[in-house]
């Protein structure tokens, strides 16, 4: 059986719409305005293809023409003519009706660090700074293991209420924060960073974020006021060790 061209057209348009909507069902929706744009191109493309030959164009438009030409289709015509203006009106209404969604706040999650960091009465050059304890991993593994454990103690006395027992950002207070705390599990946070960056973020917290590309709205405390330099380095060893992540190193 041959599928009528008009039905083919409708099915293809629906499939295109489904493809654009599909990411939304898995939690990463494409914004509505983008979908509108994609759909415009999709419809134009489908029309172009389907009208590429005289014959297929005719097949596509005949049933539409028949609506007005064929007196036996008067009833169908009346229904279609009534429904289309209503659909149009509804689409327009959805566009103009006032929206009361909270403003979207886009944030850069990996800000550019400053070149130097002042903390603990010292100046650190973030471009060259390394975790002074990292080298012990090779030089003295037993001592290193001990430092990691001490870092864990720092973590579980200071960080875990927000960043989580499992370092998965689901600490018992996490849901009260907006934006949510970041996880250390996975490959897209600390795995992408040098330890100097992490040291800077911990030391100066939310208020230490650069003034550009705001808003940050970060609730991260200024840890240099609450922890020692060594405690911060140890906590950094711990969060990499526990999650199996490796800090990025300076390319030599």
């Amino acid at each position: 059986m041959k599928i009528p061209k008009l039905l083919q057209f409708a099915v293809l348009v629906l499939i295109a719409y489904g493809i654009f909507k599909a990411p939304g069902w898995f939690g990463v929706p494409i914004p509505g305005s983008l979908i509108m744009m994609y759909m415009f191109f999709a419809v134009v493309t489908i029309l172009l293809v389907m009208t590429s030959t005289e014959k297929s164009a005719q097949e596509l438009f005949t049933p539409i023409k028949a609506l007005v030409d064929d007196p036996s289709k008067a009833m169908t015509r009346n229904v279609v003519f009534a429904v289309i203006p209503i659909i149009g009106a509804v689409i327009v209404f959805n566009q103009v009706k006032p929206s009361f969604e909270a403003p979207v706040e886009l944030r850069a999650t990996h800000p550019a660090p400053p070149s130097t960091l002042r903390a603990f009465n010292k100046s650190f050059n973030i471009g060259t700074l390394e975790n002074p304890m990292r080298k012990l991993a090779k030089e003295d593994p037993a001592k290193f293991k001990e430092l990691v454990k001490e870092g864990g103690v720092v973590y579980y006395r200071n960080c875990f209420y927000c960043h989580g027992d499992k370092l998965d950002s689901k600490g018992h207070f996490a849901q009260g924060f907006n934006p949510l705390p970041l996880p250390f599990q996975g490959k897209d946070t600390i795995a992408q960073l040098q330890e100097s960056f992490v040291f800077w973020r911990i030391s100066t917290g939310g208020p230490g974020l650069p003034k550009e590309s705001t808003p940050w709205l970060s609730s991260m405390p200024i840890w240099k006021d609450l922890l020692t330099e060594d405690e911060i380095w140890k906590a950094i060893l711990f969060i990499y060790d526990y999650t199996g992540n490796v800090p990025r190193s300076w390319e030599k």
């Binding site: 007005v68 009106a89 327009v92 103009v96 209420y161 027992d165 499992k166 600490g171 405390p221």
Partner: protein, 516 residues
């Protein structure tokens, strides 16, 4: 670790009997020393480095007492299934998105990190800490379930009023009259039964029935199935109470994804008091609160968890109703308040924070009392500081925790009223939409998203000054009535399409007539 778990999983799949064969305590110890000791302590005594920051405290495994079990009151050992739920997490706990651990505690579900055999190994190890064997008695039966009918709820309510209100409060908000401690001497607070998302297990009737029947070992929640107890209830009565408790949930108290308080425009006066019928149409938006753990003296063991807010306005004024459950009315110097409090009694309080200038861009003031560039207004109410003393209400202009100016609320027409009733504070704050001075006070505007943040203090939980609970920035929107203009464009477009259709129809008719 993970590789081993996968390997084990493959082995287990090949030999299905093995999963039930129990765990290996030595392997469990290894996992425990990597994952668990931080809270539960090196020797399992509930005294890990994190313990002092946690309320409720982590379980002491050396005691062998477990709270969330389904074996009868005279069987101390939980079932294997109980243990698995405790360690692995349970989908029924899932009241907060992405969290299947025990609600209201820091115990997460470990099922995503530990495989079945890992969990069994850990269970074998923690059981060994108190030399627990297998339970001698099976889990209690839930086969006698009474369905939740009107009659069952009525019977349940009656039993509740008789047996439960002493601790759980008349309305079940946990505002009882009795100070509670667990066997280890830790302060415990009765569950607020209107907030099921804080239940450790779930608010399904069968789980509530289990708690009532088994009790919560180590706490003052007794078994109501114990024949030697004066409080004993029949099986049917326990199901009735379970049904009743499941029914008193107040869904609005559970925060949703929405961060917007929709202020409703009202005809006539904006209400002064919380019991004014003008509030009825406005809806609460609820927010999680977290203790202040950022600056100055920090707080880790909150007793308040959420705050609910609604707002109304007219041409001249805006009012907000701030409501939060607090188990204790904290009256400093009052014998009854002192008796039930944990430590010294301070005032209860609430604060509402606004940016002085509504941000044009997305840049808001620092959420902890503003910053030097972007100051905030704080409306700060405090309960009576002693018997016969007045409540206090202040207007603060703040540029950070160290830089604040105290002003007279009356100078800008800012008013309040507050009432405590059966475990809930309700505070109304009301101010003219505009004041004389835009450089010092927020000037409210219809149709704009205005940042707002909240803080609250429970004076019976050692909360004072910088020790309090708080939200981050939320939004309030004075939502203008939609009006008829939004219907104009759709109607015009509809008419244009219809006109085009008719024109088309007419043109074909014309064509036919001319014989084309």
């Amino acid at each position: 670790m993970r590789k081993r778990a996968i390997l084990l999983a493959i082995m287990l799949a090949a030999a299905p009997g093995l999963a039930l064969a129990g765990g290996d305590a030595a392997k469990g110890k290894e996992i425990y020393e990597k994952r668990c000791w931080w809270c539960h302590g090196a020797k399992g005594a509930g005294d890990g480095p994190a313990a002092e920051f946690l309320n409720p405290p982590p379980r002491d495994f050396t005691s062998g007492v477990y709270k969330w079990k389904s074996t009868p009151f005279d069987e101390i050992i939980p079932t294997d299934e109980d243990f698995v739920k405790m360690v692995k997490g349970d989908i029924n706990h899932n009241n907060i998105a992405g969290w299947n651990g025990m609600n209201g505690t820091s115990m997460p579900g470990w099922g995503d990190m530990l495989g079945t055999q890992d969990v069994n190994d850990v269970i074998a190890f923690i059981k060994s800490l108190a030399e627990l064997g297998a339970p001698q008695k099976p889990a209690i039966s839930i086969s006698g379930a009474v369905s939740s009918s009107k009659e069952s709820l009525e019977r349940g309510q009656k039993v509740f009023k008789d047996r439960c209100t002493e601790c759980h409060g008349e309305e079940g908000r946990g505002d009882g009259t009795k100070k509670l401690k667990d066997d280890l001497g830790f302060r415990t607070w009765p569950r607020n039964l209107t907030k099921p998302f804080t239940f450790r297990v779930s608010n399904k009737a069968k789980d509530i029935y289990t708690r009532i029947t088994v009790g919560i070992p180590g706490t003052q929640m007794p078994s109501f199935a114990d024949p030697s107890s004066q409080k004993k209830l029949t099986d049917e009565e326990r199901w009735d109470v379970a049904n009743y408790v499941a029914s008193i949930e107040a869904p609005y108290k559970k925060p949703t994804e929405s961060t917007v308080i929709n202020a409703l425009r009202v005809e006539g006066e904006v209400p002064d008091k919380h019991d004014d019928p003008a509030w009825e149409k406005a809806k609460y938006t609820s927010f999680y609160m977290v203790p202040q753990l950022i600056a100055a003296e920090r707080h880790f063991t909150p007793s308040l968890d959420t705050i609910s807010v609604k707002a109304v306005y007219n041409d001249k004024e805006v009012a907000m109703l701030v409501a939060w459950d607090d188990r204790t009315k904290s009256l400093p110097g009052n014998a009854k308040a002192i008796e039930i409090a944990d430590g010294d009694v301070f005032e209860d309080a609430v604060a509402v924070q606004w940016p002085v200038t509504i941000p044009q861009e997305s840049e808001k003031p620092y959420f902890g009392m503003g910053d030097a560039m972007l100051p905030v207004n704080i409306w700060y109410w405090k309960s009576e500081s002693g018997a016969g003393q007045p409540q206090s209400f202040k207007l603060l202009n703040s540029k950070g925790i160290k830089d604040r100016e105290e002003r007279d609320p009356a100078s800008v027409g800012l008013k309040y009223s507050a009432a405590y009733d059966k475990g809930t504070w309700r505070v109304v704050m009301k101010r003219p939409i505009k004041t004389g001075d835009a450089s010092k006070d927020i000037q409210f505007e219809e149709g704009k998203f205005i940042p707002v943040a909240f803080a609250a203090w429970d004076g019976s939980n050692k909360e004072k000054g910088s020790k309090h609970e708080m939200t981050t920035w939320c939004w309030i929107l004075m939502q203008p009535p939609t009006g008829s203009s939004v219907y104009v464009w759709p109607i015009i477009v509809g008419c244009i399409i219809l006109g085009a259709e008719l024109a088309w129809l007419k043109s074909t008719r014309g064509r036919k007539k001319t014989g084309e």
